[in-house]
């Protein structure tokens, strides 16, 4: 087992590398994490709780949850449909399709917000059309949902595609010869076989959706109490030098991030048993 290198490598090397790693870790990762909680509690627990109970904070929390609750199921449905099409069938253009699915992952979140302004903003391609029908998208919750959905679009699909690819389509073929239609096959045969990967993808999608900042910042207009999600509210508070309030709200997200990491680690342990195909995060 490769861990035996602890014995094989010279002692000074092992110790030096471990120390370097731990210091790097502490400096780069742990310090920021600790700072969030330290700053949040700087003025004591009372101030902390007051900050979270503040109506604007509450509204921001609520908005974050709503946007996430819409974006994640949408992208989950998309992920399953895309993975089904790509892994159970042969057709021309598959590579291009998968590249397109991965695209939102590699572009700046600001650009993800920009494109919706370019389309639906006052001077957007559809701006005049929307105006005619008195529909506004930019600076509303709808825009937040659109931007968040775009940014988190690939998460579920990326987890499902490699796994389903390696699982093949034999069980589905068997189900169909036994008389099952598309939905029965999907629910009783395919989904049970991918449940851990699905859960994992949904988890990552949720974590990212809740924390999305760049894209929503562009499309939201920062209207306090109306279009400020938690990250945006944090920005507003921080820019007003209301440090404790900003960090208090941030601590909620940080806590959720830690929970995400814990569940993620647990799923990975389980997931590894389930024949996970190789994937790059």
């Amino acid at each position: 087992m490769s861990r035996s290198a602890t014995r094989r490598d010279p002692g000074w090397m092992v110790n030096a590398l471990i120390v370097v790693s731990v210091i790097y870790f502490a400096l780069v990762l742990l310090l920021p994490l600790g700072t969030v909680f330290a700053e949040a509690l700087r003025k004591g627990l009372g101030a902390y709780l007051a900050a979270i109970a503040d109506p604007e904070a509450q509204s921001a929390i609520w908005l974050t949850l709503i946007v996430t609750a819409i974006a994640v199921p949408l992208n989950t449905a998309f992920g399953v449909a895309a993975a089904w099409a790509v892994t159970k069938f042969e057709f021309w253009g598959k590579n291009a399709l998968v590249t397109l699915i991965d695209l939102p992952f590699s572009i700046s979140p600001v650009i993800s917000g920009l494109v919706f302004v370019l389309l639906y903003g006052a001077h957007g391609w559809f701006g005049a059309l929307l105006d005619n029908y008195n529909v506004q998208i930019i600076f509303t919750v709808t825009a937040l949902v659109l931007a968040t959905t775009l940014v988190t679009l690939p998460f579920v699909a990326r987890e499902l595609i490699p796994l389903m690819q390696s699982q093949g389509a034999d069980e589905e073929a068997a189900a169909v010869t036994l008389g099952a239609g598309a939905w029965r096959t999907l629910f009783f045969v395919t989904l049970p076989n991918i449940r851990w990967a699905l859960m994992y993808g949904v988890l990552l999608c949720t974590a990212r959706a809740m924390g999305e900042f760049g894209a929503v910042s562009v499309v939201s207009g920062h209207i306090r109490g109306q279009t400020a999600t938690m990250p945006l509210q944090i920005e507003i508070l921080y820019n007003e030098y209301n440090s404790v309030a900003a960090f208090s709200l941030a601590s909620l997200l940080a806590f959720f991030a830690l929970v995400t990491l814990a569940i993620k680690t647990a799923l990975e342990a389980r997931f590894a048993d389930d024949l996970a195909a190789q994937r790059l995060r």
């Binding site: 590398l17 990762l29 310090l31 998309f78 650009i111 494109v115 302004v117 391609w125 900042f213 921080y238």
Partner: protein, 268 residues
Amino acid sequence: MLPGFGPALGFTLLYLSFFVLIPLAALVLRPWEAGFGHFWAVISDARTLDALRLSFGASFIAASINAVFGTIVAWVLVRYDFPARRLLDALVDLPFALPTAVAGIALAAIYAPNGIIGSLFAPMGVRIAYTPLGVMIALIFVGFPFMVRSIQPVLEDLDLEAEEAAATLGANRLRTIWQIVLPAIAPAILAGFSLALARAVGEYGSVIFIAGNIPNVSEIAPLLIVIRLDEFDYAGAAAVGFVMLSISFLLLLALNTLQDFISRRGRS
């Protein structure tokens, strides 16, 4: 002959058109609507060039630093056993899981002149927050997991026998690592570098608080997009976005080709 192909593919294409293709079309077509002159003016503007330089430059340096330390961390996590190893392994993904704005204000607080680390350097006249240096440090945070997670699986699958053979032939550990292990994981390091770079270039939330946002000095490219949008210069904003995307695309293409070249050399 499984059922459901039509609906699945149809829905997928519709969804992608709405969320990716049409928005992308807008990004590709709109930079030119105010004329090529305006496009050129925007992207050749000193402020734009400085912002691009900062975004790409800081990302490059941050990714390089992560390449070195990320490799060390990956090595330590894979090869050595020590208390809290599993905890550290789980925490590697923190930058990935933590919202960017949260990381952003935390980093700004740490490296501000009155922050924990900022205050150590302030007396020497070295400012970290609100300078390009701060931007770079934020980008190190952001790119860290990409590097480690790229290298880890490759290290885990490495054939120990090659190292053992080197040992029997008289090589010491350092030589073995330099000549045998590093070349084997070089493609993975490069892959991690590309991912960290791509992520850093477009990063906004983690950086916007610690950057000074002073034009021509500490302004990142994504901020320029936001500023132009605020001025209703849609074509200009699109132009900056278009250029950012194009440079990233070319960079990634180059890095992928390099990666292919390196891994093919090791194979034949």
